[in-house]
Structures are given as structure tokens and as C-alpha cells.
Amino acid sequence: MIGIIDYGMGNLRSVYNTLTFLGFDSVVVADPALLADCSRVILPGVGAYAMAVDNLNRLGFFPALKQFAQSQKPLLGICLGMQMLSSTGSEPSPCEGLGLIEGEVVPMNVGVTTPLPHVGWNSFKLLHEHPLFEGVSKEVDVYFVHSYCFKPKNERDVLCTTEYDNIIFASGVARGSVVGLQFHPEKSQKSGMRILENFCNWDGLC
């Protein structure tokens, strides 16, 4: 069973609909106790970091998600869900994240005339092969919408990078069975669906 974490923020329906379309059974999980029944988990989310970690904490998801990650079962964070895998956030003020991949989430430091949020279709450069990207063309664009980005402490945790204006940021992070994507695979048409399908078939090893 694939669990989609519901902590009161984010467009759960689109992740759920995509998995259903791909033929995978998923369940929206609002109770941390139910994570034990999940073979893999998706942490979606849009909105502000601090409010999101507050909600996760209040519902008791912090210890449950850390334990889930320790069990080596696949965990995928999408957009804000990816950012919350980090140790600290800064939106709107400094706060602690799940700490599954060390690093901080900071505002995108683009030029003064460059629009933020970074919204639309952009490409990515895969730094190393990963089961989630199997069969995904290297030339495709994927859909982003965000103003902050994740700076992992260790280079090796960066899975792929994307360029916007004068900066290059981590558009994907991975460590063991934990993966985070800054873009929205559930909104990225064919290649995004392939990534989600790969995740649903992944055993967490790489």
C-alpha cells in the first residue's frame, strides 16, 4: 500500500489521481500510526515551510516518518515535501525539518529583475543514475513552482540540478531509500508519470 501523507496542506488529490491512473492503489494517511501498513510513502505539499512542519509535528508525523525512513522503505518528498527532508528551513523564520538529508532550505538568490516564484517548465541535469529516473529522457522539461530551494550539506546527496537565472539549485536529492524532488512529477505529464511509476515499483535500493 502506498501512503500519501495528509497534513492539511498541498494538493493531495493530484498525486492520488496520478497513482490511480497509473494503476496503483494508494491511501491518504492522516494518522501516523497507519504508516506501519505502508510499503512506501509520498510526502507532498505546497505552502510555507514553518507552517508545514508545525502541522506535521502537531499530527505526530515527525517520529513516524523518521522511523519509516530508518526501515529503508521508499520515501518520496515532492516540492515542499522535499524541502522538509532537510535539517532546517527559513520560511518565514528559522525552523527545524525532518533532518533525513542534511542541509538547509533558503530563498532562491536570483537577480533583482528575475521573477519569483520560479514557475513553469524547466530542465534538469541528472548527476548520477537512479532507479526513479530509469527510462526518463534527459532532454525533457518538468514543472516547478517554488521560491525557496534545498541546499544539501553533502554534494553526494544531490541527485539532479536545475538552472534558473544565475543560480544552479538541487532539483532532486537522494540518500538511500529517501528521495526528494523540487518539481512536481504529478504535474509533469509523461516523464513525471514515469518517475512516479518507477517510485511505485522501487524497492528502496540503489
Binding site: R13, N17, G120, W121, Y143, H184, K187, Q189
Partner: protein, 252 residues
């Protein structure tokens, strides 16, 4: 590199898709769900649904359309028209919309954009601004171009940006449905007034108009209705044309 976006716009009335000229004379252009499926297959960059029938009966029809589209179209989409409260925004997001467009209510209730942006994030709030050119200056209208305001365009855009609008949809009332090209001066003014992405709407009649909007007027996205509804044009052909003109578009 971030790509320029092509966004088909679907105007809705009583659950049907319609299209008019200068915000009047609407005619039926088909079923919105079938049209969305086609745009999904043609890999449009986003979709935008604007409900021009703001009755309460129309509202539940709209939510049904949003729900159906989110089950079958795996791309970002915006919904607007008649959005008046934070609850309206929440209902549309819960039905599957990624972004919500707020237009008239931002004038009558200036705190709505701020409340909605704080609650759901700036990235999902688009401010719609309908503009008519009058005696050499631009006048903002609300309620489907029926109510004139005395707002200054540049100041109003500044104000909305400060309150948390994540993007702007700038709609030219004079050019709507006319297919004679965009109001370039209006678009340049809007782009220079904000740091947020600007979506151009109103006037596109051929692909060259789209190339101008990106290349000359500097917008980040174009929203088109008539161009794709009437005639043999679609997002695939538009992308190919723009790519040949050296404009960065999505690789599929």
C-alpha cells in the same frame, strides 16, 4: 532554462465552454472536459478555466468540472471566476485546482489576496486584471468588464504583489476575441511594474502574435482561447513555431 508557457483558456458557462468578443456575445464552443483531454494529449503547458457564470448553481457545476479534469489531466491548472472568499479558494484547491485566479473580489475586498496567499502560499494565487484602453490611458474594470474603477494600473499591480499575488493575468478587454494581436504597450507596462510572472491574455490571432508577446513585450506566459478554439491551431504547432523563432519552449 525556464521555458515560456502556452496556456489554453477555457471560459465556462453552465458547464459548457464558450467564447465571446470584448467580454460579450458568447457562443458555445463545446464540452470543457473533452477539450481538456485534447489539450492534455497535446501537452499544453497549463490550463486555465474561467467561470463567467457566477451563480451558486454554476459553482457546483464548476467544482464538478474541476474534479473531472484533475482526474484525467496531469498538468497544472488554474481556476477563476466569481472567487470571493478564502473558502471559495479552498474549495477549488480541494477539488484539484493548482492555482486560483482572483479578480473582482480583490478590488472590493483588498485583504482577500493577502489572506489566501498566507493560507495557501503565493504560488497558487493569480491576480486577474481586466483592462480597457480609454482616451490614451488604461482603465481597470471588474465584474466581467461591466464596472469601471479609478485604480491606477501600475499602483494596483504593486499593491497586489505586496499582498502576495504569485502571478498576474493581464487581460485586454478591447482585444478579447478580436484575434488582431496583443496590446503591446499594456503588456510592457505590466511586465515593468512587477517582479512576478505576467501572463498575457486577449488578442492572439496567430503564432506570430505569441512570438511578439514573448520576444518584444517580455511576458512569461500567454493565455489563448480563440486562437486554439477556432481554426486549425493547437499547442503542438504553436510550440514548433515558437521553437523555430528561437523562443524557449517546453521539451516533451
Amino acid at each position: 532554462m525556464l521555458k515560456k508557457r502556452l496556456i489554453p483558456v477555457l471560459l465556462l458557462k453552465n458547464g459548457r465552454m464558450v467564447k465571446g468578443r470584448q467580454f460579450r456575445d458568447y457562443r458555445d464552443t463545446g464540452d470543457p472536459i473533452s477539450a481538456s483531454r485534447i489539450y492534455n494529449a497535446q501537452k499544453a503547458d497549463e490550463l486555465m478555466f474561467l467561470d463567467i457564470d457566477a451563480s451558486s448553481e454554476g459553482r457546483s457545476t464548476l467544482l464538478h468540472v474541476v474534479q473531472k479534469v484533475s482526474e484525467e489531466c496531469f498538468m497544472p491548472f488554474t481556476v477563476g471566476g466569481g472567487v470571493q472568499t478564502v473558502d471559495d479558494v479552498r474549495n477549488l484547491l480541494n477539488a484539484g485546482a493548482d492555482k486560483v485566479l482572483i479578480n473582482s473580489a480583490a478590488v472590493t475586498n483588498p485583504s482577500l489576496v493577502e489572506q489566501a496567499a498566507n493560507m495557501f502560499g503565493q504560488q497558487c494565487i493569480i491576480s486577474g486584471v481586466d483592462v480597457r484602453r480609454e482616451d490614451g490611458h488604461y482603465r481597470i474594470y471588474t465584474h466581467g468588464a461591466s464596472k469601471p474603477t479609478d485604480l491606477d494600473l501600475v499602483q494596483y499591480i504593486h499593491q497586489l504583489e505586496e499582498k502576495g499575488a504569485g502571478e498576474f493575468l493581464i487581460n485586454s478587454i478591447d482585444r478579447d476575441g478580436m484575434m488582431i494581436g496583443y496590446d503591446g504597450e499594456l503588456l510592457k507596462l505590466a511586465v515593468s511594474a512587477t517582479k512576478r510572472p505576467v501572463i498575457a491574455c486577449g488578442g492572439a490571432g496567430n503564432f506570430q502574435h505569441l512570438a511578439e508577446a514573448f520576444g518584444v513585450y517580455g511576458v512569461h506566459a500567454v493565455a489563448c482561447a480563440s486562437l486554439f478554439h477556432f481554426g486549425d491551431n493547437n499547442p503542438i504547432r504553436a510550440r514548433a513555431f515558437l521553437k523555430n523563432q528561437g523562443i524557449p519552449v517546453k521539451n516533451v
